[in-house]
């Protein structure tokens, strides 16, 4: 399988803190990869570089053969770890916003997903709970027919019911053609979704592998392995 994402030796420094330290990582086309690590391990910096929000000081990133920019933004659907919709909008406005912005946005898919999530078009953004926000944002992001989906902490801080709906939506929207990159430190809840996992520590990849192979080799679930590495 060809690599859709190639990251070669990237380093990112903020003032005197090194967030990424010559990190290299290739991500193959198709499948779900979990980027696992505690807060401060470099997950969000890595995601911001992949989405073109930050530039590395050193190294190279290629997504579908291109450095992050206009083209890669058109093929990468990104769920940030915070709300990105305007407070004055209602859900219908948010759908219109996505439709205007992204050519690959599938409105019917969005409507189905929102229904599945128990959200309706008239709800106002500023009145949504944290769980509802996350469900709305994820529905919009998954409704793009993108080559790459990047979900940054999709279940952080949501209640168990919303969490299950979010996990279901992710599994239902899995397809072999696209690649999903999910960061999380809630490994127990998410590990069964991953084909591959990469453990991030101190801005570099500590361990990477196929999730099932790691379970077999280490004789433990990924959550236990995570605790062993970071505990």
């Amino acid at each position: 399988m060809e690599d859709i994402i190639k990251i070669k030796g990237i380093t990112k420094t903020y003032r005197n803190k090194r967030a990424l330290d010559s990190l290299s990582l290739n991500i193959k086309k198709g499948g779900v990869i979990g980027i696992l690590g505690p807060n401060g391990s470099g997950k969000t910096t890595l995601i911001k570089i992949l989405t073109g929000l930050l530039r590395p000081n050193k190294g190279e990133v290629l997504i579908d053969g291109k450095t992050p920019g206009t083209y890669t933004k058109s093929i990468v659907s990104y769920l940030p770890d915070r709300n990105f919709l305007y407070e004055w909008m209602n859900i219908e406005d948010a759908i219109g916003f996505f439709k205007d912005f992204y050519e690959d946005f599938d409105e019917d898919k969005a409507i189905n997903l929102l229904e599945f999530m128990g959200l309706n078009k008239g709800m106002k953004i500023k009145e949504l709970s944290k769980g509802m926000h996350e469900k709305l944002n994820l529905s919009l992001v998954l409704s793009r027919n993108a080559k790459v989906y990047i979900l940054d902490e999709p279940i952080a801080g949501v209640d168990p019911v919303a969490r299950d709906q979010i996990l279901d939506a992710i599994v239902k929207n899995y397809n072999e053609e696209s690649t999903m990159i999910i960061t999380t430190h809630l490994v127990r809840d998410m590990e069964n979704l991953f084909d591959d996992v990469a453990f991030l520590r101190g801005g570099t990849i500590e361990l990477i592998g196929n999730a099932e192979t790691l379970r077999e080799e280490k004789g433990m679930q990924i959550d236990d392995l995570y605790k062993e590495i970071f505990g």
């Binding site: 279901d168 069964n192 192979t213 679930q221």
Partner: protein
């Protein structure tokens, strides 16, 4: 279904389906849920489900019909021998645990007859 053992998920799914076959909840020739259905029900990556089905097929416990889906074997003898294998592995584990408590075979037999 809870995935707790220290086993790969695909093996736990295989064991779950094997048990369903042994207790005849899945009967011979029954259609198994599609990869997608089971993936959604268990919230597990579809590739993992596919791998479990492929391995079950390799063991001759299920068969695939192109465009129709995956079905449980119609070979009842296979299921009977699966049942014996599963019983044997339970007994083996039990014996290992008992021996680690320093029980002799005679003592174990006595306990079972109680």
């Amino acid at each position: 279904m809870n995935f707790k053992d220290n086993l790969p998920i695909y093996i736990q799914i295989m064991n779950y389906i094997k048990k369903e076959m042994v207790i005849r909840k899945i009967k011979e020739g029954d259609k198994l849920p599609s990869v997608r259905e089971l993936s959604t029900t268990l919230t597990v990556n579809p590739n993992t489900i596919q791998r479990a089905y492929t391995e079950l097929e390799r063991e001759g416990l299920v068969f695939t019909q192109r465009g129709m889906g995956t079905f449980a074997t119609e070979d009842i003898e296979k299921i009977e021998s699966l049942k014996k294998d599963m019983a044997k592995s339970l007994v083996d584990n039990f014996l290992i645990d008992m021996q680690s408590l320093n029980f002799s075979k005679e003592e174990i037999k006595k306990l079972i007859d109680l």
